[in-house]
């Protein structure tokens, strides 16, 4: 399986409130909120780190999950975000300008 790189769409605004990642699609004003696992993946989506690395480095050490199963779930999750237009996916690293978004801590 080829690596999957992920980055935030430019057309979003995002903030963490109470540890919950809130993301608004500026395109259609849809609001998304991510749980703890989703927030970890979202925050690690820098365009340069593959999803496999994110799962191995950020998720498996923190949660009692089997790596293959975790990667499968994580991929389904990021593909869903991509379908909503708030995340970009590529089999190549994604250049920083595409990863820039209106996000604040």
């Amino acid at each position: 399986m080829s690596p999957l790189y992920l980055a935030h769409s430019k057309e979003i605004a995002a903030r963490v409130l109470d540890g919950e990642m809130m993301i608004m699609s500026a395109r259609d004003s849809t609001l998304f909120s991510l749980n703890e696992l989703g927030t970890i993946i979202w925050q690690a989506a820098d365009g340069a780190t593959s999803l496999e690395e994110i799962v191995a480095q950020k998720i498996c050490p923190e949660f009692d999950v089997e790596p293959t199963e975790a990667l499968k779930d994580a991929e389904a999750f990021v593909r869903e975000l991509a379908e909503h237009g708030i995340m970009l996916l590529s089999d190549q690293p994604i250049a920083p300008p595409a990863a820039a978004s209106k996000e604040r801590a």
Binding site: A13, L17, M24, A26, R27, S33, R104
Partner: protein, 339 residues
Amino acid sequence: MTLPTLISIHDVTINIGAMPILVRTDSPEFAQMLEDRYGKFVTADAAAAVMELEIELIPPGRVCDAEDVSVRREAGRWVMERGDFRAEWDPQCRRGWVRQSASPYAIDGVLRILHSLILARQGGFLAHAASAVRNGRAFLFCGVSGAGKTTISRLAPPDVVLLTDEISYVRGFRIQDSGFGGPKSEVRSPHSQARTPDSGIQITDSESRPPSSEPETQCPARSPQPPAPDPSSLAPDTWHLTPAFEAFGTPFAGELARVGENLRAPLAALYLLAQGPENRIEPMSEAEAARELLQNILFFARDEELVGMIFQTVCDFVRRVPVRRLVFTPDARVWELIG
């Protein structure tokens, strides 16, 4: 020989949210209607207007085919349409026009849209909410139609001043804190008049807002503008600035059919209304508060940049202003919990 015709021009300056808009019409009847409708919000200080709107009155009937309100940016101008009006606003020139019949609802709709666009850049918003001032502090009561905005307004005791029972006007401002423990003073956006392309007003916002992509255009001459203050007096890096929010009265009335008071006060709390068997206040998480408040924001434009700004403003808001759920029964005792 044809006698020359005199066309009289009537200017009415409507000051909502400390943002005076001059409305110009050649109809004395329409001007009188504006003065009657916006009463306390009409100001004699036309020179303070931050924009001008020319009204073109047409016979009653549909102005355009749009069923719902449509607000879009075209070549640097905002185009606003609804069945009963068509309007354009050029934020560079701070001028616009409205084609409508003499109906008050059309100009009311245009004003709401204009203020929602201006506020988005100023760290503010319009919300489906009643608001009122008690002991110098403002309280918002937010909810969709039927949630109880009019009811709680009607139940307000005499010491409460009503700002609106329908559409609340909220804008962020900065408290200047010298860091030496002295009294704080406020930097309110309407007084800092260095101009941004869209709103004509710039707030002293130390947090970055993306620059406007509005193209530069040549504007025809217009009325003299109020003098800009010394920019150095507003430099954000000389102060520790604490963001906060204040509420303004609006003439946008709901079922109470009563224009709010034209005053402003710092916001003490926002209550999301829920009717129940007793009066109580429940805590809410910031995330929950942001989700519900976003559902009650009035914003009409499909514009990625402004939608992003409103989202950030709402997130700032729920972190600075206490947001609670107010479960209430239609009983005046609910006001014992407020203020």
